[in-house]
């Protein structure tokens, strides 16, 4: 398949039309990988993979001095990475995640993103687990790296549908207590909960030396509040109603959302948590890049 054909699978709408979760995960990752100039699977581990020319900035310890002696040129030795990373993908499946302004819902986006991440991580020989939650933990599959894990996790993602209210703080605290070995925690959520509850949960992971990436998934309408006529809004989690004139309050609403996201970003930054705000229209490669950056730092 041509590179361009693969890359279209980074579009959430295109992905949503694919038949199975595995296909979705595979095509997203393949689409993402074809855009990279080097394999994401190559690292610096024990199993040699290939030589490549030294580039300024490469650590001197990886220079193959034998080759230098023979050829008088500097080459770097690259190895197939051998990892013992334990990743946990946390997917918020509360009712608010079902919101969509027309394209795909936040939950769908989150499911496909989770699937792509899981696929990518398993391809890198990492062990990956999955946790689907709303106000409590609905499903928890501990991390493994065996070949059956992919099928198991993707099947679970396939089943994950919206349910009731959310209580992220509680869930994070509970999970932090469960996960003993430190590893990578990836949270996919709209974070529509009180930041005073969410942030302590995330910081709890950091306290336990986990690395944390937060994919903050929002629908464009949730940030722009692009409604015209007067309307009565019904809370998808509580069923509460409120009538207002969107035109008049849009500016204030957008400001409030900005303040909220800025607060989250700042707090995450202070705790060295990667905070990645994405919208349901955002191509998946952005999220995957964020993951790879993090993964690289974990070396």
């Amino acid at each position: 398949m041509a590179e361009e054909s693969y890359r279209r699978f980074l579009d959430p709408v295109v992905v949503s039309k694919l038949a199975t979760m595995e296909l979705r995960a595979r095509l997203v990752v393949e689409g993402f990988v074809t855009g990279l100039h080097r394999s994401p699977y190559k690292g610096f581990s024990v199993e040699f993979a290939e030589h490549r020319q030294y580039m300024p900035g490469d650590p001197l310890k990886h220079i193959d001095w034998k080759v230098y002696g023979k050829t008088d040129r500097l080459y770097i030795k690259e190895y197939e990475e051998e990892t013992n990373l334990r990743g946990h993908v946390l997917l918020d499946a509360s009712a608010s995640m079902a919101y969509t302004s027309g394209g795909i819902s936040k939950l769908e986006y989150g499911r496909y993103l989770a699937a792509a991440l899981i696929y990518l991580m398993l391809k890198q020989q990492d062990s990956v687990g999955l946790l689907v939650f709303d106000e409590a933990v609905r499903e928890f599959i501990p991390p493994r790296s065996n070949p059956r894990q992919l099928h198991l996790l993707l099947s679970e993602l396939d089943r994950a549908g919206p349910s009731s209210e959310t209580d992220i703080g509680l869930v994070l605290h509970e999970l932090a207590r469960r996960i003993k070995r430190r590893g990578l925690v990836i949270l996919i959520s709209d974070l529509l909960d009180d930041p005073q509850d969410v942030l302590p949960g995330l910081k709890h992971f950091r306290h336990l030396k986990h690395e944390v990436i937060v994919f903050h998934v929002l629908d464009p309408r949730e940030t722009e509040f692009g409604f015209d006529a007067d309307a009565t809004f019904r809370d998808m989690e509580t069923g509460e109603l409120m009538t207002t004139e969107p035109f008049s309050i849009r500016r204030d609403y957008v400001e409030a959302v900005d303040r909220w996201m800025t607060h989250l970003r700042r707090e995450c930054g202070e705790s060295r948590i990667d905070y990645v705000p994405i919208q349901t229209s955002t191509p998946y490669d952005r999220a995957l890049f964020s993951y790879l950056e993090k993964r690289k730092r974990l070396g």
Binding site: A229, D230, F233, R234, M242, T244, E245, Y253
Partner: protein, 718 residues
């Protein structure tokens, strides 16, 4: 103090103020429910912003309703009326129409000044009362009234200039018509204050005896032609006086100017050819009247062709009329003009009465008799009366049967006589209609064969505005006596204390005739002769008793010949007609059929004009709307062809002003207030003129509200 609305109909538009509220309620009901991920942020805003939005929505709703309400109220032109509404010296916009009397009676002199000059001075004082933006009209009261400032002026100086351009005329006064014209002009104005000022001597005959009054009671009178070209239209003046529920009624002010009321005037002159005497011998009968409060003995002079040819003394009691009679011989081969003259008095205009005498000529008369053989019918006697000598020197009668009337040549006969014709066929009816429309004269003699129902249905209403009611019979006969016969037509037919011959009438038709017609009436019998003018300018006479021995003594009487000659002579449109024209009317003079070319007219004052030739009925020349009394000389290529006499309306001679008790009913719906010319006008006028229109205030309010609405709708102040 009270609030009125000049455009009350627009108040219904105030309901538009409900429109925003209705829209708001409807749109509230239709509001869409949207599932949203979380109301977390909306709830945060609820505490401050959304409450403000609701408050703003309510404020906008109120402002929008108020805008529509203010616009509707501005359109309805609310007006605060009352003493304190306008503040000192201020008044709402005002339209003023000055009806200024420039009629003949205004030429009266008092203290070295004439009344007209005083009237103009009053007009200038009215101009002083005008503020910027006030509108003024000027209408003259002399018949026919003329709108000098028909479009109105907003400049007091233009009004003063128009007043300065007026001059006293010789016209009669017609206050009702002038007020109607003024009302018509004011009708177009939507100003709060609308005022009519009638400035003049308020001559009683100018109100009560005006042409309008003659036509019938004021409220029923059909409006006369509008001199402004349509401002009054066909509307009842009452409509103009007050708009239904909107603009307040027009206020009227009478400003009477008083002068000497004692006046002597010549009110009529009849010139008749004397019969049975020398050819060219004429009798002159002149009626003079004394309107002063003292007995007067005065000389009355007769002038013919500028030369005094007679003088008579007349003694008149206060308020009485008398007749001065003269006889004079003139050359009958040419035109003559003259006048009757009284000594000078306060009003010189009516001290002369002009007349003309046309040259004698042979006139063909068509006498129509009933079909069938009757050797002694009315036509038999009438033909002998018209042409006693049988030589056709003055009148040449041609007799035809009724059925042959339609085929007669119309132009040939200036006068037609229907001698006891029972009915006419369609062609005959058409002949008569066209003859009369063209200005031809018509004598109808009713008698035994008259089909009353036919005449009432087909001819009389159209020709004379009269209908026959039945037959009155007095077998013993009613005598025509000098005391009973005061009609000018019979002047000169009285010898001493008796008529030239005894005549008794035994049967006559009872007629219902329009009061405007000239009626010769016999006490105990009723009218025997009705005379009327036709639209074509000719005259129609109806003799209501047959020229038949069973109806009256006329056939055997020596009175028949002069009566028929007088009557037919008048219908022929000869000298009498040329002398009956009054100032303001069209002057008609008969001219020869052969006369061709431009007809120049030398006016009495020395000016010239061009007359219009009228080739109808009989050939004549018409000068429209004559304005000067005196002798008019008609000529083609400097060759004199005819003379015409124009006189002042005799009603103008009665200088008595209208009585205070009569004023109330004169203005129709316009309430007339008498203001002495010696009192400051401001006291009367400005006090009533107070008032303030508020529509601007509402427009400003609407603009401020619109600005507020825009600010509120687009800003984030709230």
């Amino acid at each position: 103090m009270g609030l009125t609305f000049l455009n009350g109909a627009f108040l219904i538009a105030a309901l538009a103020a409900l429109v925003p509220i209705v829209i708001h309620l409807i749109s509230r009901r239709r509001v869409e429910t949207i599932d949203f991920s979380s109301l977390r942020f909306l709830k945060e805003l609820e505490r401050k912003r959304i409450r403000r939005v609701r408050l703003r929505q309510i404020l906008l709703l109120i402002i929008r309703s108020l805008i529509l309400l203010a616009v509707a109220l501005a359109l309805a032109r609310p007006t605060l009326r009352g003493r304190f509404a306008g503040g000192a010296g201020a008044h709402a916009k005002t339209s003023v129409a000055i009806v200024l009397d420039e009629s003949a009676s205004m030429s009266r002199r008092i203290d070295g000044d004439d009344l007209f000059t005083q009237a103009v001075a009053v007009g200038e004082r009215i101009a002083d009362l005008l503020d910027e933006g006030d509108q003024a009209f000027l209408v003259t009261a002399g018949a026919p009234p003329v709108s000098v400032l028909a479009d109105g002026t907003y400049s007091p100086d233009a009004l003063r200039e128009a007043l300065g351009g007026l001059a006293v005329s010789a016209a009669a006064t017609d206050y009702p018509e002038a007020i109607d014209s003024a009302l018509g002009l004011l009708r177009g104005s939507r100003n709060l204050n609308r005022e009519i000022y009638v400035v003049g001597d308020l001559q009683r005959t100018g109100w009560i005896g005006s042409a309008r009054e003659d036509a019938g009671p004021r409220s029923d009178a059909a409006p006369a032609a509008d001199p402004t070209g349509g401002a009054t239209g066909g509307d009842d003046p009452a409509d103009a006086a007050s708009e239904p529920g909107d603009v307040p009624a027009v206020r009227g002010y009478l400003i009477p100017l008083t002068g000497p009321e004692g006046n002597l005037g010549v009110v009529g002159v009849e010139v008749a050819r004397k019969h049975g005497g020398t050819a060219g011998l004429f009798s002159f009968s002149s009626e003079v009247r004394n309107w002063s409060r003292r007995s007067v003995e005065m000389p009355v002079k007769l002038f013919v062709d500028g030369v005094q040819v007679g003088q008579a003394g007349v003694e008149l009691e206060p308020g009485a009329a008398g007749t001065a009679r003269f006889a004079a011989a003139v050359d009958e081969s040419k035109w003559h003009a003259g006048w009757i003259e009284l000594p000078d008095d306060a009003l010189p205009t009516d001290n002369r009465r002009y007349f003309t005498i046309p040259p004698a000529r042979r006139v063909e008369i068509l006498v129509v008799r009933p079909d069938g053989e009757d050797p002694r019918d009315d036509a038999y006697y009438l033909v002998r009366a018209l042409d006693p000598a049988g030589d056709g020197m003055r009148f040449a009668p041609a007799v035809v049967e009724a059925s042959a009337l339609g085929s007669q040549e119309r132009r040939r006969f200036p006068v037609a006589v229907l001698a006891d014709v029972g009915r006419l066929d369609r062609a005959g009816e058409r002949w008569i209609e066209e003859h009369v429309e063209d200005g031809g004269g018509l004598l109808i003699v009713l008698g035994s064969r008259t089909d009353m129902r036919y005449w009432n249905a087909e001819l009389l209403p159209g020709l004379l505005g009269a209908t026959l009611r039945g037959l009155v019979e007095r077998p013993a006969g009613v005598r025509l006596a000098p005391s009973a016969v005061g009609h000018p037509l019979l002047s000169g037919l009285v010898v001493g204390e008796r008529l030239i011959d005894d005549v008794s009438v035994r049967r006559a038709f009872d007629v219902e005739a329009n009061l405007r017609e000239d009626v010769l009436e016999l006490p105990g019998l009723g009218p025997v002769l009705v005379l009327g003018r036709t639209d074509g300018g000719g005259e129609v006479a109806a003799l209501l008793t047959g020229v038949d021995p069973t109806w009256s003594d006329l056939p055997q009487s020596g009175f028949l010949v002069p009566l028929v000659h007088r009557l037919v002579g008048r219908l022929e449109g000869g000298h009498a007609r040329a002398s009956r024209t009054l100032v303001g009317e069209d002057l008609f003079v008969p001219i020869e059929e052969t006369a061709r070319g431009r007809i120049d007219v030398e006016l009495p004052g020395g000016g010239t004009a061009i007359a219009e030739a009228r080739a109808v009925g009989r050939r004549g020349a018409v000068l429209a709307g004559v304005r000067e009394p005196g002798i008019y000389r008609f000529a083609i290529d400097a060759v004199p062809i005819a003379l015409g006499a124009v006189n002042v309306d005799p009603r103008e001679s009665d200088l008595a002003p209208v009585a205070a008790a009569e004023i109330e009913g004169l203005g129709g719906d316009v309430k007339l207030t008498v203001v002495s010319p010696d009192r400051p006008l401001e006291e009367e006028v400005l006090e009533a003129r107070h008032g303030r229109e508020l529509w601007r205030l509402f427009v400003y309010a609407a603009l401020v509200l619109i600005a507020l609405e825009m600010l509120l709708a687009r800003s984030r102040l709230i």
